[in-house]
Symmetry: C2
Subunit: 339 residues, 2 copies
């Protein structure tokens, strides 16, 4: 900017005023300055600007795994939304590890991000302190956090699983295996409640040996399914709590020599673009990824636009059961239950 000012024989203040439109600049100087900018190929240094202004027009986004299609889609939507608004997005993957998450959040705050969207991990860690101590707005994504009172957008997980399990029950399934993620995050907690309530509502017992948990990875789903399938009285259906784990479920079913849906029915959380192309076409609970991403972005953009004092807003969206062909009706039992 100094060079531009010299070349145009004006002060840097004038150049800045013109660039930001903060003061009227005479046509004559405007022309000289614009010419100088072109000649020099000047680009404003956003870092210096950030330092002075205290704002970076950059936000931080942390998710557990970007390869989980649910997060891939949501990240994509969020990225687009902030792109439109002229913000850059710093992406971090925490790999379901609390320490990693804390480190990355620290990294982001050091870099003075204007806001944070977090699909948290563990019990929140630093998150609580940040929401309380700093005035960096935080939006929780997908997962609430005990004791952290801030904007959030989540799914009605309990209801979604309730519906899915009820659907399985209506098909005649009585022993329904349930594979969950670690129970310290809200969606898994709520989904578990939905599972139990659906069984109870149908007057079915909750068999604890049918409930397995893992750390969200394919291998966890695989192991859990192996255990379920080697039970003395194995389940006739399995509900898997996320996408990577259901892939593990399908592999376990294949490896053990069974087939879906003939031998065992499968449903799961999170839809994916190819779910209705291949066989078995999985019955899933689809999350409204577009809406989730947009709402999260909007909540944060609203705070960034200055609306700091509004009380925390919590948006709860509805899942949608996508019924396909991976669950088969169980004839005899179906009748006895629906009777």
């Amino acid at each position: 900017m100094l060079h531009v000012a010299e070349a145009a024989r004006v002060s840097v203040a004038t150049v800045s005023a013109l660039l930001n439109g903060t003061a009227t600049v005479s046509p004559e100087l405007t022309q000289r300055i614009e010419q100088a900018i072109r000649d020099i190929g000047y680009k404003r240094n956003a870092i210096a600007r950030s330092l002075k202004m205290g704002t970076t027009r950059t936000i931080g986004l942390t998710v557990p795994h970007i390869t989980n299609p649910f997060f891939t889609d949501v990240v994509s939507v969020i990225q687009q939304a902030f792109d439109r608004a002229g913000y850059a997005v710093m992406l971090c993957c925490t790999d379901e590890d609390l320490n990693t998450q804390d480190e990355q959040i620290r990294l982001l705050l050091d870099r003075m991000v204007d806001g944070l969207i977090v699909a948290r991990v563990g019990d929140g860690g630093l998150l609580k302190g940040i929401v309380e101590d700093t005035n960096v707005p935080v939006v929780l994504l997908d997962r609430l956090c005990e004791g952290v009172d801030t904007d959030a957008v989540v799914l009605d997980n309990q209801r979604a699983v309730f519906d899915a399990v009820t659907y399985l029950i209506h098909l005649g399934h009585r022993r329904i295996g349930y594979i969950t993620g670690t129970s310290d995050i809200s969606p898994m907690h709520d989904r578990m409640i939905g599972y139990r309530e659906a069984l109870q509502a149908a007057g079915l017992p909750v068999a604890e040996e049918l409930i397995r948990s893992g750390n969200f990875h394919e291998i966890d789903g695989y192991n859990a399914t192996m255990q379920l399938l080697s039970l003395h009285d194995r389940p006739s259906a399995i509900f898997s709590a996320n996408n990577p784990m259901v892939i593990g479920t399908m592999k376990a079913i294949r490896d053990i020599g069974l087939s879906c849906p003939e031998d065992i029915s499968v449903a799961c959380f999170d839809d994916f673009p190819w779910s209705d192309v291949f066989v078995p076409q999985l019955t899933t609970v689809a999350q409204p990824v577009q809406a989730i991403g947009e709402q999260a972005a909007n909540l944060l953009l609203d705070r960034l636009a200055g609306n700091r004092d509004a009380p925390p807003r919590k948006l709860v969206l509805k899942g949608r059961l996508m019924i396909r062909s991976s669950c088969r009706p169980l004839g005899a039992i179906a009748q006895s239950v629906s009777a």
Copy 2:
């Protein structure tokens, strides 16, 4: 830092020296400063640091679509690598649009990223000027760029498609539909050559009506497949040039009432974690995503470590044909060809 200095009754220069280890600080002052840092909860401002140092420890990464599983995986690997090295990653999706890409690169450069990894779009746009004019190191990912002479890591696309198509020919297919992306980017160009060469090597004619192109999206694959399937003499096999497009291909096959591989064989570029769980299990060309991501990260990290003057390095990795069950042998024809 000023507050810390005051609280510890030292100068800011000493605090800075201690924090950076650039000078020895007496145990006494060290202790006072560390105490003050704890008391105040001081965090160094990375923006001010960046301004002074001229480095942000942040890199920019642009890809066409993060929802394309190939890019999802590569982004994930790159993100991890830079995370380990203490760098933050700004992610941008260009949506296969050159203007968007140019804007985003500008945005990234304004923010003084230390380096750039680009899976480019279009003819490169600003890219060329940046590589020449700035001293921000650039690594091209997946796609080379005419006239841009810089580090790159790509696949041997020609060979990969040659192998895949040759495999189809060995199975007895003679009319092999080929769905490609826009031909202005190097992988599509090279893959097309691989396709033609495989046919020629087998003494088969290249029928232009069997070649369709689209803009990488599912819908493009769908439309292209619809056209191929409504040809008078329709192909017995289709090779689709990326993942979203092959999903379109599968949907078109389904919608037109055919089935794979009974009525038509399908193979495609890019593997995915679920490709061997569902039916048909797609035969694919798997890219070494882990290696691609790591190599790209390493190339850039090496430049960032100071190795600026080495000549551009171009890494060419090999694809791997994953033979599954989506392509069936064509009895009679197979014999006449292999005879």
